[in-house]
């Protein structure tokens, strides 16, 4: 228990203090955006991981990220809402849509579910191109930075326009959301519902026969997953100040899934580590030029051969040995 608590403290110190310190010391300011991306993508990946937890391969998270991004962008641009208000709305909207879509498709399993969700990503892209409200092919650009939040005259979050470097502000927003998201995930997995989800992953029929309402459980898990996707997409749009139908595509959906695999499907924090390694790995190989993809993929293959159960399985393997 103490070990866990120490680990948590250390982790919080690392993301809130050590990493910014490291960036300031080395002057690598571009890393703020990179780490913001990692944090946001890992939130979406956490959602995908939850669907893995109920035994479904989800390659459709890109659709919800895109949807969340558009909901936030449209509310900010056309209805002048505050970004902070659109953030939960984007998540809830995605959760709502995912309930409607999830009810029929969650009956599918294995590759069928995987493929339907993959198609869903493409459907979302084509919808964004075709619907009038999304401004079609031209996308939505020049989205203003988030404003301030104040309660009773106390400014909780400063106006991003006045912040000296909005990238740092976005970094903290993303990291706070990531910590909240993973804390929630951890709590969920260790709750009664988490154990029930685990039973779904192992044997749905058996779970059903002992009185678990599996249909309800699946839809709830899927909507939580989509909520994560929507929130992550919305913050991304605010950070890049623009959204296009191509902002989240099939490639992103596949990457979210790969993040989970790489980190380890059996570990709540797997997707976070997976995202970090996959995203940052590509970034670090930047200087290798035309061999970037070659080295990147070769390392991935080797990792898979050595640690087929994900990077985090290294820990349990060591403990066993």
């Amino acid at each position: 228990m103490i070990r866990k608590l120490l680990g948590l403290l250390f982790f919080l110190a690392a993301v809130f203090i050590l990493l910014p310190l490291f960036i300031e010391v080395t002057g690598r300011k571009d890393l703020y955006y990179v780490m913001t991306s990692v944090a946001l993508l890992s939130i979406a990946s956490a959602g995908v991981w939850l669907t893995f937890y109920i035994g479904r391969i989800n390659i459709g998270q890109g659709a919800y990220a895109l949807m969340g991004g558009y909901v936030s962008a449209i509310l900010v641009m056309s209805y002048s809402w505050s970004f902070w208000l659109t953030l939960p709305i984007a998540g809830l909207f995605c959760a709502g849509v995912s309930i409607l879509i999830g009810m029929p498709i969650l009956r599918l399993r294995g590759v069928y579910f995987a493929m339907v969700t993959l198609v869903l990503t493409e459907v979302a892209r084509l919808l964004a191109l075709a619907l009038p409200i999304t401004n079609g092919a031209k996308g939505i650009t020049s989205i203003p930075l988030p404003g301030s939040i104040s309660i009773f005259g106390v400014t909780l979050v400063p106006d991003f326009v006045q912040v000296e470097n909005p990238r740092i502000a976005f970094y903290y927003v993303a990291v706070v959301l990531m910590v909240v998201c993973y804390a929630g995930m951890y709590r969920l997995v260790n709750s009664r519902m988490g154990h029930l989800c685990m039973s779904l992953q192992q044997n749905e029929e058996l779970a059903s026969s002992i009185g678990v309402n599996i249909a309800w459980l699946r839809v709830v898990a899927y909507s939580i997953s989509s909520f994560c996707g929507g929130v992550s997409g919305a913050v991304f749009v605010a950070a890049t100040q623009s959204i296009y139908p191509s902002s989240f595509t099939v490639t992103d959906s596949v990457n979210f899934m790969l993040n989970c695999f790489l980190g380890g499907l059996g570990y709540v924090f797997g997707p976070m580590l997976g995202t970090l390694v996959l995203y940052l790995g590509w970034n670090l190989l930047f200087s290798t030029g035309q061999f970037q993809l070659l080295i990147y993929s070769a390392v991935m293959i080797i990792l898979m051969l050595v640690l087929p159960n994900g990077l985090l399985s290294l820990g349990s393997w060591r403990r066993k040995g």
């Binding site: 070990r3 866990k4 120490l6 680990g7 948590l8 250390f10 982790f11 690392a14 050590l18 990493l19 490291f22 080395t26 690598r28 300011k29 571009d30 703020y32 955006y33 990179v34 991306s37 084509l126 191109l129 079609g136 092919a137 031209k138 996308g139 650009t141 020049s142 990238r167 991304f236 950070a239 890049t240 100040q241 623009s242 296009y244 139908p245 191509s246 902002s247 595509t249 490639t251 992103d252 570990y267 709540v268 924090f269 976070m272 580590l273 970090l276 390694v277 940052l280 970034n283 670090l284 930047f286 200087s287 030029g289 035309q290 970037q292 993809l293 990077l311 985090l312 290294l314 820990g315």
Partner: protein, 399 residues
């Protein structure tokens, strides 16, 4: 579980630190180095777009360095091209631009597509970077935007000129448009349709789209060919798809003209469609022997020697780096201050080394389209493909 995660993170962080300190050391060793950036797509299905940019820049840089570097003000600089593959993902493009800012780069070529170019705008403006996208949205180049400079001729500039020429010289009356269902081609189709209608042409097909991964275009083109248009416009067609579309249309018995407003590669057309591609109209740079200078020919030679094969898309893309360097020469203060660059843009003029015509000039244009000079004046050469090579149909200008 947490403990493991953290130690992994630390390990990574220290690895980063080591790598970083190495790169900074290297950067300090050479003192008169000039870095120019590239952020665009060099992998995946659209790899050809960015690759032709990168290779043009690398060929030129190697050439200049071989000649002892580039003299700007009273210092001579060795050129270094820093490239970033954004995988055609706007999120990555932003990362690339941040990286360029980190490297202290003020001039970046790319991105290659609309969404990437729009996404990097805030980063470029905040960090004082001038970037040269190959994307057409007008708001990137019109005030209040001021850091983007269009690197080629936009389709809303070349399209009307081509349609007008074909109306007057080939008796074109009915036009059909077909585009991939992605942002860039659809935007180009919309402005193409508007231009054709403004000229009084009858547009018989304006809503036909295809998935960019289509390999067989016969089903897409069957209904369009049945409408018997005089001109089939392939809006924003990817060089890889152009020969397939041409071949499918011709084999279905289409006899009218086919055109596009983007640059194409003759070798790709020859291999993919053979003689069926004869008469295909596209827009390129100083490509054809009638107008190319000896320097252009030497560039093609060096490119071929360095990379094995030339890409005709580079006829347009050769210009960006020279524009950046020539403008710096005209005003050395612009090297690390883009406000100086913006001032120089309005008056800048230099000879165009890639054209035979001694009066051809490098200058910034775009006042008509954008209300300010935010476009490179590359020659608008309208080509016709014939037996493995391009022939000049006419040369236009943009102001």
């Amino acid at each position: 579980m947490n403990g493991v995660l953290i130690s992994r993170r630390l390990l990574l962080a220290s690895a980063c630190a080591a790598a970083l300190s190495l790169t900074t050391l290297a950067a300090h060793a050479a003192d008169a180095k000039l870095k120019i950036g590239f952020v665009g797509v060099t992998s995946g299905p659209a790899a050809a777009w960015g690759t032709s940019n990168v290779r043009s820049m690398q060929t030129l840089a190697a050439w200049y360095n071989e000649l002892g570097g580039v003299k700007i003000g009273d210092k001579t600089y060795e050129l270094e091209i820093v490239t970033f593959d954004d995988q055609k993902d706007p999120k990555r493009a932003v990362e690339g631009m941040e990286k360029m800012a980190q490297e202290g780069i003020h001039y970046v070529v790319g991105p290659n597509v609309d969404d990437g170019a729009a996404a990097v705008r805030p980063v470029a403006e905040k960090n004082g970077i001038i970037y040269i996208p190959y994307a057409f949205p007008k708001e990137l180049y019109s005030p209040p935007a001021s850091n983007a400079i269009l690197g080629m001729i936009a389709n809303y500039q070349s399209g009307p000129a081509i349609y007008k020429y074909l109306m007057e010289n080939k008796g074109v009356k009915k036009v059909a448009f077909v585009a991939a269902n992605e942002s860039d081609p659809l935007s180009q189709r919309d402005s193409g349709v508007a231009a054709a209608k403004a000229l009084g042409l009858e547009v018989v097909a304006e809503k036909d789209t295809y998935q960019n991964d289509t390999r067989d275009f016969t089903p897409v083109l069957t209904p369009i060919v049945g409408l018997k248009p005089d001109l089939l416009v392939l809006s924003g067609v990817a060089p890889a798809n152009a020969p397939l579309l041409i071949r499918a249309a011709r084999e279905l018995g289409y006899e009218g003209l086919i055109s596009t407003e983007t640059a194409q590669d003759a070798k790709v057309l020859e291999e993919g469609a053979g003689e069926l591609a004869n008469g295909f109209i596209s827009v390129g740079g100083a490509s054809t022997p009638e107008i190319a200078s000896d320097r252009m020919k030497e560039f093609v030679e060096r490119y071929t020697k360095m990379f094995g094969e030339y890409n005709d898309e580079s006829n347009t893309k050769v210009y960006a780096l020279d524009y950046i360097l020539e403008t710096m020469k005209a005003n050395p203060a612009s090297m690390d201050n883009v406000d100086e660059f913006k001032k120089t843009v309005d008056t800048f003029e230099a000879p165009n080394p890639y054209l035979k015509d001694p009066n051809a000039k490098l200058k910034y244009v775009g006042s008509t389209s954008f209300g300010q000079k935010r476009q490179l004046a590359v020659p608008m050469v309208v080509n016709e493909y014939k037996d493995g090579a391009f022939q000049t149909l006419f040369v236009g200008t943009v102001d």
